[in-house]
């Protein structure tokens, strides 16, 4: 996917140079291997910082909330869906945006890569088509990208952007064969006590740094429920029930809005797979309401409209 880098730079240079956008939001190379940093470019001469590779994992829609400039931005499938949600939820206007669409071949799971390197320190990373190479002190490994995709990328069914002003490459085939919810289905068959202990265990390392919440482009409330004091919905300690309450409510706030971009899991400092919460909601939204978030500007968000024929079987 390195091939997109040149195109992004070229177009960003033109867009900034011609004054079509005031700023351009993309990624630049980070100071740590497998880590790219979101960046906002203001001058055409700085566009060479921009890049695209398989480590562009943070969701850039995060950086659009309530901005007022004209913004150029790169967007792959999930990011573009979050841009749609941002537009629908009035966090940004469509005509403020110039979107460079990126048909996405997935991003890589840095934790899996580190595991493959026996958790040795990495000093360098490069990629070439379907392979990438990691280097450390005295070792070098070339790995197949498809074997190291992030779990959400593996089951992604919207790799092509759903909204863009120009597409930087030919659309990639969508992966419709896989079942994105097989893990959820597995857990659904378990008895309640198994489910409870599964989730208790899942969040047991949580330090409530809120990285999952803040990395999520859906979480832009001026005052989060965890900060409300009248009434206070949830305690602030790392008491397991408070932590669980936080995770349930955080996930539920994403109900009908989550694009499964995986930013929450990617940023977690203790590697909690908290998508297990949101995926259940995504699955139910799909099954009960035939809903996937952020696919089109034409429909209101899931909880913002209804049908009289909506699912009613659970109500007496």
């Amino acid at each position: 996917m390195i091939r997109y880098t040149e195109k992004i730079r070229e177009r960003a240079r033109e867009l900034l140079g011609q004054g079509k956008v005031d700023v351009f939001i993309g990624y630049k190379k980070g100071t740590v291997p497998l880590m790219n940093q979101p960046v906002m470019i203001k001058r055409a001469e700085d566009v060479d910082q921009l890049l695209w590779d398989s480590n562009c994992c943070l969701n850039l829609a995060n950086y659009l909330t309530k901005r007022t400039e004209k913004i150029g931005i790169v967007a792959n499938g999930c990011n573009s869906r979050n841009i749609v949600i941002h537009i629908l939820e009035n966090q940004i206007k469509r005509d403020q945006l110039y979107i460079l669409g990126i048909p996405c071949e997935g991003t890589i799971d840095h934790r899996a890569v580190l595991r493959a390197a026996d958790n040795q320190e990495l000093l360098g990373y490069s990629e070439d088509g379907k392979e990438f190479t990691i280097r450390g002190a005295g070792f070098e490994k070339t790995l197949k990208k498809e074997e190291f995709l992030r779990t959400n990328c593996k089951t992604c069914q919207h790799r092509n952007p759903v909204i863009y002003d120009e597409l930087l490459g030919d659309p990639v085939p969508e992966n419709t064969e896989v079942d994105p919810f097989s893990d959820v289905k597995g857990l659904e068959t378990q008895p309640p006590e198994k489910k409870w202990s599964f989730f208790q265990n899942l969040i047991s390392k949580c330090i409530r740094c809120y990285a999952c919440r803040n990395a999520c482009p859906l979480c832009y409330c001026p005052t989060c429920f965890v900060d409300e004091s009248k009434p206070q919905w949830v305690g602030k300690s790392i008491d397991p029930i408070d932590t669980m309450t936080f995770h349930i409510l955080r996930a539920y706030h994403c109900a009908g809005r989550c694009t499964d971009c995986g930013a929450c899991e990617r940023v977690c400092p203790v590697a909690i797979p908290m998508r297990q919460f949101t995926k259940k909601l995504n699955k139910d939204a799909k099954e009960l309401f035939d809903w996937e978030a952020g696919l089109t500007l034409e429909t209101r968000p899931l909880f913002d409209f209804y049908k009289t024929s909506d699912y009613n079987e659970f109500i007496y």
């Binding site: 959820v184 857990l187 659904e188 309640p192 006590e193 198994k194 489910k195 409870w196 202990s197 599964f198 989730f199 429920f225 009434p231 919905w233 305690g235 300690s237 790392i238 008491d239 397991p240 029930i241 408070d242 669980m244 309450t245 349930i248 409510l249 996930a251 539920y252 109900a255 009908g256 919460f277 259940k280 909601l281 139910d284 939204a285 009960l288 309401f289 899931l302 909880f303 209804y306 009289t308 909506d310 699912y311 009613n312 659970f314 109500i315 007496y316």
Partner: protein, 143 residues
């Protein structure tokens, strides 16, 4: 006489189910005494946070009841509520809250008999599960 009986938080819409409860009362219809009723202006007012707060504070069950679809005093509050609750119920059950703890119903203010039926059903369902086990906030587990 120390037999356990369930505590159930009931969020009842002011315009319908709350009236049905009233009507059941004046009609001298018997229904289980396990409910702590919270009168709300609409089932659409019931935030998932309320339901979680009830469970956190030790409710063995939660019951939300509003007007029949199409009869909402605010025209469509219960339609929105229905979507919210469908996903919430799924999520809570997925994390381990037993399916019989969270109940929803549509009961108009004239349906005292339905109120009694549903109340009995809810109380029996929660009663059968025994005391709530999960998501109850105890004294903080901290150092």
């Amino acid at each position: 006489m120390n037999e356990w009986s369930p505590k159930i938080t009931a969020f009842l819409c002011n315009w319908c189910t709350y009236g049905a409860a009233d009507l059941a009362g004046v009609s001298r219809l018997q229904y289980p005494p396990n409910f702590r009723v919270i009168r709300v202006p609409c089932s659409g007012r019931v935030s998932p946070k309320f339901i979680l707060a009830a469970f956190r504070q030790g409710a063995d069950g939660v019951w939300v009841s509003g007007c029949h679809p199409g009869d909402c005093h605010y025209l469509e509050g219960n339609f929105y509520a229905r979507r919210k609750f469908a996903l919430l119920k799924g999520l809570l059950e997925h994390i381990g809250i037993e399916p019989g703890r969270l109940h929803f119903s549509w009961i108009s203010s004239a349906e005292a008999t339905k109120f009694v039926e549903v109340a009995t059903k809810v109380a029996n369902a929660v009663g059968a599960l025994g005391p709530a086990k999960y998501l109850i906030k105890q004294r903080a587990e901290v150092a």
